[in-house]
Symmetry: D2
């Protein structure tokens, strides 16, 4: 069987999720289209990378991503690093002819994203951007319902991605709150997801206008390196630093297909842990999905008998649903991380059979363009065409 040797940059939250996907894919999607070999994991701190490699089963460790990419040892570059570590390594990989699996958002800004997409096209490598929610079975079902006409012409898209993990003013200034590393706050982190979903399900956006706010403008510096969602400890001296990203960004959008859209991303929605939720209304039906209940899809059909219409909650856990029969018999929910296994399966399949993959870097550029135009609209206080 074809083997694909992976070199991964980053070993934090996403590094764990990707490692798990490489472990699980060949077991549950058996026989796999190609076998992942977890060849090299790369990170700045040798000791930590060593420990991680041992934990998740990587063959080698590296602290210099350039060496990893130049090593001739890898077929696939997995970029699970923070947003400021996407541009250079991705381009280097592309130039080495190495396929790329990169975490979202693709870039800190549109310019970076376009550079990467260009490099990918020029060097003719396959590059996937890990907008993992496309591969939730319920989202695939939503796509099917739309494509097969169950929803009709689409009038409305409304999506929110609500979290609440930084409402405490003592939560420290981790990298996700620093523009130089993250590029933006929930805008790039969360709106990126729902913009990608909207493009997957409804198509492109024509015009946007937004607003943003940073509710808490200064925070204590973190005690350690401040890498990762989990590093929540403020340093003892409590030196303060400036929050340089948004805490919330909302925007209105007009879609190319005529639908009206609204988007909201915030980390200040007290009580909402990971509430990525959208509703679509069309001439024949509607769809609602919510990540916190990601194994369900709500569907309304105006073709049901008039006296018996209503939103139905589909348990998207049946063998008939996408990906599901690879896991367990009908009726058993999957977890959040399974979406990465689905991505790895589809990407490995695309590589093995030389198929197109989506979302690729061009798709990701489109997301980045919308995000950037929202930012522009905020600066200029006016609508911005995409």
């Amino acid at each position: 069987m074809k083997k694909i040797k992976v070199g991964m940059l980053g070993y934090s939250f996403m590094g764990r999720a990707h490692s798990n996907a490489y472990n699980q894919m060949p077991k549950f999607f058996y026989p796999p289209p190609a076998e992942p070999v977890k060849e090299i994991v790369c990170g700045r701190t040798k000791e930590n990378v060593n420990s991680f490699a041992k934990q998740f089963g990587w063959n080698q460790v590296e602290t210099d991503w350039k060496k990893m990419i130049d090593s001739d040892k890898i077929d696939l570059f997995d970029n699970s690093g923070p947003n400021n570590m996407h541009l250079e390594p991705n381009i280097a990989a592309a130039e080495e002819g190495i396929n790329i699996f990169c975490e979202k958002p693709l870039a800190r800004n549109l310019e970076e994203a376009e550079k990467m997409a260009t490099a990918v096209r020029k060097n003719d490598v396959k590059a996937m951007c890990a907008f993992n929610y496309r591969r939730v079975p319920a989202i695939q079902l939503a796509k099917k319902l739309i494509d097969e006409g169950y929803i009709g012409d689409i009038y409305h898209w409304r999506a929110v991605y609500l979290q609440d993990w930084i409402t405490d003013p003592d939560f420290p200034l981790v990298w996700r709150l620093r523009q130089d590393v993250a590029g933006s706050g929930p805008h790039g982190d969360l709106n990126a997801h729902i913009v990608d979903l909207s493009q997957y399900l409804l198509g492109g956006i024509k015009e946007v206008i937004g607003m943003e706010k940073t509710f808490i403008k200064e925070r204590p510096l973190p005690s350690g390196a401040g890498v990762g969602l989990g590093d929540h400890t403020a340093s003892e001296e409590r030196k303060m630093g400036k929050v340089t990203v948004d805490d919330a960004v909302l925007f209105l959008a007009k879609f190319n297909n005529g639908a009206l859209g609204s988007f909201e991303a915030t980390r200040f929605a007290t009580g909402r842990r990971n509430y990525n939720c959208f509703e679509i209304n069309g001439s024949k039906g509607s769809i609602v999905w919510n990540l916190e209940r990601m194994n369900e899809l709500e569907f309304y059909s105006s073709e049901d008998p008039a006296f018996a219409q209503g939103f139905r909650t589909i348990n998207v856990t049946e063998g008939i649903h996408p990906y599901v029969n690879k896991w367990w018999p009908s009726g058993h929910i999957i977890g959040w991380e399974h979406t990465f296994t689905h991505e790895v399966y589809d990407f490995f399949n695309a590589i093995a059979k030389d198929l197109e993959i989506h979302p690729n870097f061009d798709d990701a550029v489109k997301v980045q363009r919308v995000l950037e135009h929202v930012k522009d609209s905020i600066k200029s206080n006016s609508w911005k065409s995409c």
Copy 2:
């Protein structure tokens, strides 16, 4: 237009609900099949009855129900009194040829219920027992779904009626907690409702076995007459009295149609205010209903496309649904008390046009028989045939 002069016994919780129904019916079900005249209201305490008559618009007051029934002034006897005031007045009314609208449960025991039903049949009057939940629009829709084959052969009935208003041990010994007045606790009060619904929707029960418990065996005597749900004050001296009814009764049942059933009534389900909820599973579909969201019905159809099956929540608030278009345009929920207006409308229509009405006293006897057999099964520790 034909007028129907009503004489009502009782002016507490149910007296209010019935008075309101007489007020509302001719306005919203306009023109009414016959016009209710609130002629006489009867209660023990003159002053209170006077006040009530003024509040809700009754023409006359009376403190002796016999005089009211013998007065030749009324066409319909409304028995909204407590359970120990059903037997004699109802029989007297029947013997006077007066139609009867009686609150549920019909009686404190089967013997009483049968006596009343016999009197009604012998004297050929119309008699309705006010199991009001039959006339929730969502319940009518459930009936339609079953009757028209959307559910198929029925396998399962499971119903609970859960309340929590006496979990506090200091809640006083009101009449509903005394066997001499109420006959039983939640068994007669709440199981009566769900047994009636089961008979309406599934038909008769063949065999039962139950269990019961009184969790709090003594309570402070109430300060006042202790009539009504609302009289929650323990007397100051806090003399204690014995609770002589059940606090919870559960039972299993085998239906004539082969379905398996379970029933539970309790006043000790902390957090459940008025949770009258049932689920029906059949070979082609399922139904769930819950009084706390009485304007909704959950419906599952196995005839939906395999990839899009799920329980749908029907807002039973559309003009197409039973009774609804009499009230407001589609999309506006009705309240709990509207069920009584529906009862009064249907009963007045039956009287005006000489139609059969259900649930009548024979239906109520069937409920009482099930309740009694459950009690017997508890005493004998064994299944009891109905």
Copy 3:
């Protein structure tokens, strides 16, 4: 007891709702602060008004509102007419020193609204605008939670008012779809409600930007007068007419208190019957409410133990909750129309005791100003300060 003689303009949807409130208030809020006398009802078509007066119990009928207002027979002018019948009659009533209870939206535009508010102030009459959802018990509870600090500093308001009654292109061009009568579509009809709720709960709005769309631009003319939500029949010849109002309006808002807000009103949200829903996120808690389950309030408190935090569904049906104990014992839901009874009770109380009432015409002007500024922002494609 003081009597207040009412003269009402309009006998359609709102006329019914108001008549019912006058009937119910003195019975359930007994003794009433003042007794409503349903003195005169006024409408264009004599025959229809006569029938309505008989149905709901009005003493007299009138077809000329000027005569009604000049008659010296009324103490309160109830304006339940369509939006184009607000300006002149309301000003006339104010100038006669008659108190006013007017349906929402107060006006077709800001200029009209300000004229009415000025007339009211000048003539020192009491004038209430019937934003009835303020008087849902759950909304009053939400207000209490905010005022007493359970929510903390408010970061987010997001509200939608979704309906779907005109998604069928054959639905006729009723008055609500004509700008000359209605002023606007769901913007004035639905956004008005959620703007009022936001002002009640969060306070004023500083800046807005919106977008709008008319999805279906032509519709068949209605067969009849086309008055009322219920008149759904297209004329047989199917002559077409132009829809001159919006079908959907969305906007972003910045509140004076620093919160970010979003609003959406549409009649094209297939499957959403009357889905008036908002969420508020604050530093200490969150609130969600939805008209379709108007007897419930969702509340999240970050002061619950860390391991046991979550949105709780409060059944706002307990005696301890506002208005509830006037109706039924705890645990029994009220219907949509009860909100009008609450309004009439509070307004009659304010009149009888000479108290301030809210929402008054000044409150309604503030709503109208926001609506108008949204319209302006759409025209100018830019943010508009309020």
Copy 4:
């Protein structure tokens, strides 16, 4: 690090789930208390076992369980075989001094279960019965709420385990529908789970009475070996065979602590895929849990302010909740199979540190006793003491 060499019998549904747990535990619960070595997997059909071993990474294969147990190569016997393969192999393992991890139900009947428990005690091995739902984080939270007094004295337990995978009469006669292999139908398969949960959360049961039904008495024989939930194909000739297990079993129970309980297991609840749901009501609070939303727990506390009480939905996905921080940052749901990883972690920890483990075979015997007494109560038509 200590290694524990596992020999597993069975490679179907449960074999997959257990293999996955051995794979995942040492990665996510890192460093593991002891390292699982997937040494031998054993099944009847060489070819299938070989394929399975390759897929999930087992070192060796075996077709004779006796050889595996006698091989001196394993430290832990994992019994993932069907119910008729528990007795002999488990006893053999115990007699070899090998620890045992056995799927539920422990046995086809009480006698078998007791024999196994005796063998385990006599040979002093550790033996865990895989009632995996105890190790759902939400269930652990429920246990904590009860143990720490948040629920108070418990009045009620009501549990159902509803499925619908055999409502189609053409679904073939798989092993789970044959008494000789399975022992019973949903009674042993599903009631076993909810009885175990009730014992974990409330303690022992004193008395039971039940009823059962086989709705479809004959079914087509399966085409193949008919092993596994997934083998849904009837043979072409459609020879029919007799269903020799129950399709549904309901029972009432009295707990030692005075609580009243009800239990129901069925495979005929159309629309319910895997609806394992219970509610507990106590003097101070209530709990509701449902496997289909296994990452949530509903909790009601009567100690909340009177005006703000309600069932709250806890997302049991926070770092503070049991097991959760081993997986992902807060807010990411886990899947059904993670419960097995939790079991393996706890059992390996118990073995490594010589701690007690629960549920052990004695706990499983108690479950089996309740199930058997329910069966007896059905035969004798009377209550049965436990």
